[in-house]
Subunit: 314 residues, 3 copies
């Protein structure tokens, strides 16, 4: 896994990656996943990760912290409301300059879009964006692509459905962008009120990506996989609209067993009614395995940002 | 310490243990306590404990985390209100399936009775109940028994008093159940309004345990040890009743020095007026030593759940 | 670095230190800072620090936790509102007796003045005061002196300005006291309403320290360094007074470039308008480097409290 062709020291948004970059990350992660735990447990010995969650995201925080300590590194951690200096009016840049003196790299989650870029610009240590506001969440998109790569063995040639809140769903927006580097067909399944924004439709056309839009959930029966998402209550100014839409789709066992293909079901979790628990023990259910893939992808990104070549190190 | 006869991979409630199990735990803990720190510091190297406190309990959380890191393990930790996915409606089972991808075992504290059993059923990693609602707190009961075992050298034959809130006191209920495996005499000291529930009285009779009930604190003068507890304000719907009862007993230095026996005083802490600080430097005071016994018992349970035989490993 | 002449196992306030103590700490820190990271990473292996922040102070907490883990130690950590036993009425002494069973030393931050002394009196492990209310913050004062020592090469003979809130500023009060051990001239720059309290003025006279007071910020042009501080909104009962004073001074690039000397600018951070970001890339700006000095000083204090002689250990 020569690092000669990978030049990113920060992971800020998915637009920074070429197809070659993504392929490199996927293969690096795959090699990593095949190592014994003991082979990895000293790679980041003596390094410190600052886990800076200016807003709470337990799933993502624990994933990064697990990744760091599996590699032998240490973590200093803080969650939003604990940032006492922020409450006294400190700028993010100033906070980051303090962090730079403590840690070898930083993961940042922040409620305001663009924060991770500001954070990164302030310091000389690598910064990884763990989600900033309505902006990007690149490590989630990379773990989604890695899930497809491992579960399906390839990405090119797949027919992929996206189900649920396509208007506000940050996760879907990032994944769609990343998949534009591949030869896939996309099926967007959503009620008209929360369908894909026009800007994404335009980009797909420019990139010559084949896609269809429908309100009919049965469209996923023809797909290799369906990426199902929660209707996010917190995004609706009008709660009565949320009530109308929240249960519009529900993927369950009998619906899936009627599928022509063994449609793989992915979900970024947490889930509500859109994905029934009676799916959990079907082979279709990839969503719990995604937590493990997430740790692998985050281990990969920590190592790449610190320029660690696992082949020569192990 | 052959593990051939110990078959528990989860610690969910005290009813799961036979007398043989308890004896095994006590002796394993005693052997562990006699080792040098350096002999233990690599036993759980590379293992990760998920410390999941859905409600705050600093004493118990720090005890488990200390136990884990003394054994060379690592901890990922989260406290209640940080569980962002829970606030979005995620089920405990789904949360646990994420945790399973991150950690080798989990400790769970939860406000709802039965939660630890639900958590355990969702995953294939060991789960330890660190208190669930008005339900059980088995590691507290085990550390209480371990305290008696170490401080008194044996358990059979002792006369043991329980003082304070016998109606709502989860700690006392668990300890009473555990001691039913031993040949002890129990003295229950409480005002009638917060005396032992009828179900426990019935069980004691069925198990042929000798016991007495009284409102007179002087009864502890005849006991080998007294387990004193706080009247828990948060359990009273009627605060005026709490005000009447909160100072009904106060164990202090002069009262203890009048005792016929050197009655050992235990207390799960925190304490209020029921146990005066002027007792602290008497030999009677075992309650501060209990924090150390607690770490030993939790180290023991972490090792047993992961099936580590200390004799062969060291 | 023989420890024969250093006899402090607790760091509670700056009055405990003689000039010889301070010089010893500064030199120990300097030696430590010249070591490779790998030489230090096992010095506190197997030791556990209890990081007890009864009020939030992210900067100080992360600094101590970084210091501990760089030395190979482990941290158990808790922040204010998580102290469930405190909310049930537990005394600080009782909490500390629990901590003593878990950790090898403790760092305590507490909103009430004198708390660290109470904490220390309750236990036999070293206790370090990380700020208690309007009381002392000795590790901040030591890192300030260490900054001067490293940046200027010496302390005796310097002319040092203090700017901003000299009435309520705990940081400044502690640093002034510490600098009384040196042959320095102090210039106090503050509006009359928040000028240095009379008690400090009296002490400076008794100690024969040369000092001047002025409202004119231009006084710092003649100084080797200026210690600038934030006007602390939270200290003002009358918010209209805060509004009048908050922007009374603003150190910026053009003001500094007009200085006769290259006045070094220090600031405990966080900063607001009193220190403009256009100063950040001037050589004058020492304030971001202070975060690194802080980690070194805290590593030093952890080692000294545990009586570790780095020369013989490395």
């Amino acid at each position: 896994m020569s690092l000669a062709h990978f030049h990113h020291t920060n992971i800020l948004d998915i637009d920074q990656f070429s197809r070659e970059d993504i392929q490199f990350i996927l293969k690096y992660a795959q090699v990593l996943s095949q190592k014994e735990r003991g082979q990895l447990s000293h790679l980041l010995e003596g390094r410190i990760l600052a886990s800076l969650f200016f807003e709470s995201s337990t799933r993502t925080r624990l994933s990064f912290e697990t990744a760091m300590i599996r590699l032998g590194g240490k973590v200093i951690s803080t969650v939003g409301f604990q940032f006492s200096s922020i409450s006294k009016g400190e700028s993010l840049s100033d906070t980051m300059k303090m962090v730079e003196a403590y840690a070898d790299l930083a993961v940042i989650r922040h409620p305001v879009e663009g924060s991770s870029r500001i954070a990164s610009a302030a310091v000389n240590i690598p910064v990884i964006n763990a989600g900033d506001g309505t902006g990007q969440h690149p490590t989630q998109a990379l773990l989604d692509v890695y899930t497809i790569f491992i579960e399906k063995g390839c990405i090119d040639g797949l027919q992929i459905a996206f189900v649920g809140d396509l208007k506000y769903g940050r996760t879907i927006h990032s994944l769609v962008k990343l998949l534009c580097h591949y030869n896939v067909k996309m099926i967007f399944v959503a009620p008209i009120d929360i369908s894909l924004p026009e800007s994404y439709r335009k980009e797909l056309k420019e990139q010559n990506i084949q896609f269809e839009e429908t309100e009919d959930l049965k469209a996923i029966w023809d797909c290799d996989l369906a990426y199902v998402t929660r209707i996010q209550q917190e995004r609706f100014a009008d709660q009565s609209q949320y009530e109308l839409l929240k249960n519009v789709y529900s993927v369950d066992r009998s619906f899936l067993l009627a599928s022509r293909k063994e449609t793989l079901i992915m979900h970024p979790l947490p889930r509500l009614n859109e994905l029934n628990t009676d799916v959990d023990d079907l082979p279709h259910a990839a969503y719990f395995r995604m937590a493990g893939y997430g740790v692998t992808i985050r281990m990969t990104l920590l190592l790449l940002c610190l320029n660690i070549d696992i082949e020569s190190e192990i």
